[in-house]
């Protein structure tokens, strides 16, 4: 909702009013110029001072969280009695994620966005904070392509004993348990929202049972996201579990983050066999490398579709870090392949194998 409001208090002189951005439930956000640093800031105000504790909670939560994905707080504005009435925050221009124009165009970009959302939620959880209102409207992507999560206003500081009556999350992205007061909110509620965001971003669709009120109350089955989106590998199972009605069965935000990262990189990995006189590179999905060392044995390794380097075929005496090689086993990211029985001692052939991949840097 745009327009209409004026600032409910006199701005400190260093800030100069520019325009209003958004009228929210508790207050409005105004864009102002910070004259000291000559930059735009977003000033989030309260309409009613009785909501001051929520604002104080947001300030406290923000101070605890170390994350590049949570919008920065610069200052707070207090009333004559010292109560916070506004927060001065980083201003991120552009539309929030719910706007069609900011939807990523490619699968690669979609996965990178989902990865950043998972990173942000993980950072929030690591600080012992629960966001409780993860949804597209509360996120923006900045000029460097870095996702920012906003609105920790209802975030509950004490993750260990978080109980609350009712709930102020958002339809569809809200976990079912938030509809059952008195609610004991856990970080799993944010993981649920991340799971719904994954459906929304990857499948461009949210399964009907999630749109019920409360969600999944009809008991109708939810299809696996693997039926709607190709080649998610083991991420499909994690997303399916993230939207489980039972919070305990949901994975952690960190597990989801790691799995998304693996999927992003799975086809860009490089396996290198360091032979005595040269290196041999295995860097294309579906390709295999066959090592034959006479008279000891052979080993065939495939760069599999799931991004793992897997043993396809083995004969004779071949060991991976001193454990006998077996078909189907994955090679560790750094290991030594040994050809020859232990009795051959120094005559054995040792071949280091190392896996590396591009780092996701935002």
């Amino acid at each position: 909702m745009k327009g209409g409001s004026t600032l409910p208090f006199a701005l400190p002189s260093r800030y100069q009013y520019q325009s209003e951005v958004l009228r929210g439930g508790q207050g409005d956000v105004f864009i102002c110029r910070d004259k000291s640093l000559d930059r735009l800031v977003a000033i989030k105000t309260l309409r009613d001072t009785k909501d001051a504790p929520a604002l104080a909670r947001e300030i406290d939560a923000r101070a605890k969280i170390k994350s590049k994905h949570v919008a920065e707080v610069y200052d707070r504005i207090v009333d004559v009695r010292g109560r916070p009435i506004a927060i001065v925050m980083e201003y991120v221009p552009g539309e929030s994620l719910d706007h069609p124009s900011v939807r990523p165009a490619t699968r690669e970009a979609t996965l990178l966005l989902l990865y950043q959302i998972a990173c942000g939620i993980e950072d929030i959880h690591e600080a012992g904070v629960i966001h409780r209102d993860i949804k597209p409207l509360n996120m923006k992507v900045d000029g460097s392509g870095v996702l920012k999560i906003f609105d920790l206003g209802i975030a509950n500081i004490d993750a260990s004993s978080a109980t609350t009556v009712g709930g102020a999350g958002t339809f569809a992205f809200r976990a079912p348990e938030l509809y059952n007061p008195p609610v004991r909110v856990t970080p799993a509620a944010d993981v649920y929202a991340l799971g719904v965001m994954a459906w929304w971003l990857l499948a461009n669709n949210i399964p009907a049972p999630l749109l019920e009120l409360p969600p999944q109350s009809s008991g109708k089955p939810i299809p696996s996201i693997a039926n709607a989106v190709d080649s998610l590998n083991d991420l499909a199972d994690l997303i399916d579990r993230a939207i489980c009605i039972d919070p305990v069965r949901r994975p952690s935000s960190g597990e989801l983050r790691a799995c998304i990262a693996r999927l992003i990189n799975h086809s860009q990995r490089r396996g290198v066999f360091s032979l005595v006189d040269r290196v041999h590179e295995l860097a294309q999905i579906g390709v295999t490398t066959r090592l034959e060392i006479q008279p000891y044995g052979t080993l065939r390794v495939v760069y599999a579709r799931d991004g793992r380097f897997t043993i396809r075929e083995v004969s004779g005496d071949v060991f991976v870090n001193n454990t006998r090689a077996t078909v189907g086993a994955e090679l560790p990211d750094s290991c030594v392949l040994t050809f020859g029985p232990e009795s051959a001692r120094a005559a054995r052939i040792f071949i280091p194998f190392d896996v590396s991949q591009p780092e996701i840097v935002l």
């Binding site: 000291s36 101070a63 200052d75 900045d142 870095v146 860009q268 990995r269 560790p332 590396s356 591009p358």
Partner: protein
Amino acid sequence: MSRILTRGDLIADRYRVETFIGQGGMQEVYRAVDTSLGRHVALKVPKNDSGKKRFARSAAMSARVTHPNVAKTYDYVDDGQRQFLVEEFIDGHDLRHMLEEVFYCLDPHLAAHVLHHLAKGLEAVHREKVIHRDLKPSNIMLSGDEDLASLKITDFGIAKMAEAEIGEGVKSFQDETLASRTVVGAIPYMAPEVLSNRDDVSTSADVWSLGAIAFYLLTGEKPFGDGVQAVQKILARKPPDRPAMLAKVTSQFRQLVDELWDLMMQCLAADPNERPTASELVAKCNRLCYSRAPRVRGCVESYRPKKGKYGFITSDAHGDPTFFHADSFWGHTSPEPNQHVCFARFPGTPRARAHPVLLMRNAGTI
């Protein structure tokens, strides 16, 4: 030595000074508590007020850049007497400290990681049409972990402030004791056009500095040496010699070292127009394959240099010793018993396996 601020000082009714944490040529840096928001901040104070305007400008310049690899600017205060720049506090050390006190150099994987993040940060700086002008290891802050997980460029535009002093420093090379220590420290990272014609500096000068930093990280040596000798060599506009350390790289490191070397040489091109832009450098780094396996610190327990070329590392983090092969070792020397190292650890039987193994300074603490 007397400091500008003392513990307990309250700046702008908001920032309470806790401790002095360091200084550059132009400024002192303190850790303070932001009493409004309940968090630590870095408080920077210029040493004298001759550069007052420039200090304000440099604050505004850095405030324009928002990126995870650039230290965040929170506030700028002018209380009538002094100016203060309030930045994100990074609980760690600068890159110069890490190379002079903790490591000697970084193995190719860790060096690639640092270069990648610096390139990303620099891309964001240049997107805002800001030239840093003083990129050097002491202006790069690192989180205090073995993985160097978080890296941030800081101290923008201070170079502009420092211009008068640079002139002085270059003039007095004949008598190096007179030259400002700050300027001398920055010389190995200054592009030829910066040293010869200070009016003709573009974003590509920062790219040159990044190349020089990467060279130093990988080898522990500056591409053109230090001091007067460095000025002459940089101005000679010839590619740097390949350090002895890179003459015999084991096959496990060779590919990544060659890729890093190519990138460094592109950045260190004498002609600014031949250097990649920060964005082009990011694109190249995005394709680099390197390992980010978590690192732990340990100590070489035994090493068999003649027959085996392997040894074992003990670590507080793990009960059992970890096996390593000499080919996994990165440093100027060969591994010695009791030598401190930093390594990534992979499963193995009967012992876990370390790769890579990075030489550390024995007294080093992170």
